[in-house]
């Protein structure tokens, strides 16, 4: 994140922005297609045998790092532009008074689309609940928002393939919808912290001033800002994650992971979920490792469960939510979401 210090430069005409975007995408595409020769070239500069363990690890690293960075740039920019059409206030207006069921489905979708950072989780939660959005619907939003995020999708798409990325997104949404619906059915409004209940029954929050409508160029700017902000946050995790992945790729014996994390080991799915909860890297750090594990014979369902658990159930997030939820409600949240993740893990190990 950076802070602008300059005053307005002379405004560029809109066509320059549109042309710039087209040129960027074209150059992006040309460079992207050259990544394999590029990584082989870099690897050949190291004094190691190409097909040795070290050679494999180096080639893996120098292919995957630029690839992931490039995909992330494009996807985060696109998401930034799309998200500029949404805002928490608009989401609240759309969800207020919605019935459960339809509301859960909408909330999960809006969770993906609404610009949101985890440090705003508490005011957002309260803003939704106090405007009359049912608790279960609010949970669908809060589960989908971190789970189906653009960093996870970009990395899955780049490292594991679009099929797994699409599967992950679809089942992430399904878990958010069903878990929110179940929590709604349990009628746990009484398990909010007292002060939150008071706001709930009291006046609704006043609407903050509406922002002026954005132009397309404003939206490009927001997209660029999103790229800058997310890169600042995740670039180190990506390099660390891919470094770990490269080591696994080069050095871990082929059948080790198949034995520990293969489909035949029934206990591996719950173990993956439990191990995933206290781990707080983010999608950027965990997915390169996941890719390497898959390559070593780990089962897809087990790996998917691990990834979802790391991303959707994190201790720091629970500590933040502790301000508004009682421990009992947090336990129900973890239990319901965890069960959903388990079910997805077993389902995939069974199907594939």
């Amino acid at each position: 994140m950076s802070v602008q210090t300059s005053s307005h430069p002379a405004p560029r005409p809109d066509w320059v922005w549109h042309a710039g975007l087209v040129a960027f995408v074209a150059i992006w595409w040309l460079v992207y297609r050259q990544l394999i020769p590029f990584s082989e070239l870099i690897t050949s500069l190291f004094p190691v045998e190409r097909h040795s363990h070290t050679g494999e690890a180096i080639a893996f690293f120098f292919y995957d790092v630029p690839k992931v960075m490039m995909l992330l740039t494009l996807i985060v920019f696109a998401m930034g532009v799309v998200r500029s059409y949404f805002s928490p206030e608009r989401t609240r207006a759309l969800l207020a008074g919605k019935r459960e069921g339809v509301g859960n489905v909408m909330a999960a979708g809006l969770g993906v689309m609404t610009p949101f950072c985890s440090c705003s989780a508490v005011p957002l939660f309260i803003g939704l609940v106090s405007a009359g959005v049912p608790l279960g619907v609010t949970f669908s939003f809060l589960i989908a928002a971190p789970m189906v995020n653009e960093v996870a999708l970009a990395l899955l798409f780049g490292l594991v393939g679009w099929q797994v990325a699409a599967t992950y997104a679809a089942f992430g949404l399904v878990i958010a919808i069903i878990a929110g619906w179940v929590i709604g059915k349990l009628h746990l409004e009484g398990w909010l912290q007292d002060w939150v209940r008071d706001i709930h029954s009291g006046a609704t929050a006043p609407d903050a001033a509406d922002d002026a409508p954005l132009t397309l160029v404003d939206r490009y700017r927001l997209g660029i800002e999103a790229v800058r902000e997310i890169f600042g946050r995740v670039w180190m995790w990506i390099i660390l994650g891919i470094g770990m992945g490269a080591l696994i790729h080069g050095y871990v014996p082929q059948d080790l992971m198949a034995r520990i994390m293969g489909a035949d080991a029934w206990w591996s799915v719950p173990a993956a979920v439990v191990i995933g909860i206290p781990m707080y890297t983010n999608a950027a750090g965990v997915i390169p490792i996941v890719e390497a594990l898959l390559g070593k014979g780990a089962a897809l369902g087990t790996v998917l469960a691990f990834m979802m658990s790391v991303i959707a159930l994190s201790l720091p997030e629970m500590i933040i939510l502790k301000q508004v939820l009682t421990l009992r409600l947090i336990a129900v949240f973890v239990g319901v979401v965890g069960s959903g993740i388990l079910a997805v893990g077993y389902l995939f190990n069974f199907l594939f």
């Binding site: 802070v3 300059s6 005053s7 307005h8 949101f116 440090c119 002060w195």
Partner: protein, 76 residues
């Protein structure tokens, strides 16, 4: 002039407060900046995203670090 920065102590909230201090210094304005980190007070302003900026009791900005020019505009 009283300016409040609402936010639970995240990096962006700190950047916002620092920016306002700096811009006010450059513009030669005296401002008192109060950081509101208590969640109950934050939500009482009706904001759903932080950092948010309150000038004269009114929410003027929310959800991001404001730009240099925006801050100048508030300082009047």
């Amino acid at each position: 002039m009283d300016i409040k920065v609402l936010g639970p102590g995240c990096a962006k909230c700190k950047a916002t407060a620092d920016l306002i201090t700096r811009v006010a210094g450059e513009a030669g304005k005296t401002v008192t900046i109060e950081k509101i980190e208590d969640m109950r007070q934050i939500v009482s302003y009706g904001v759903m995203t932080t950092p948010a900026v309150v000038v004269g009791g009114k929410v003027v900005h929310k959800g991001s670090v404001p730009s240099h020019d925006q801050v100048l505009g508030w300082l009047g």
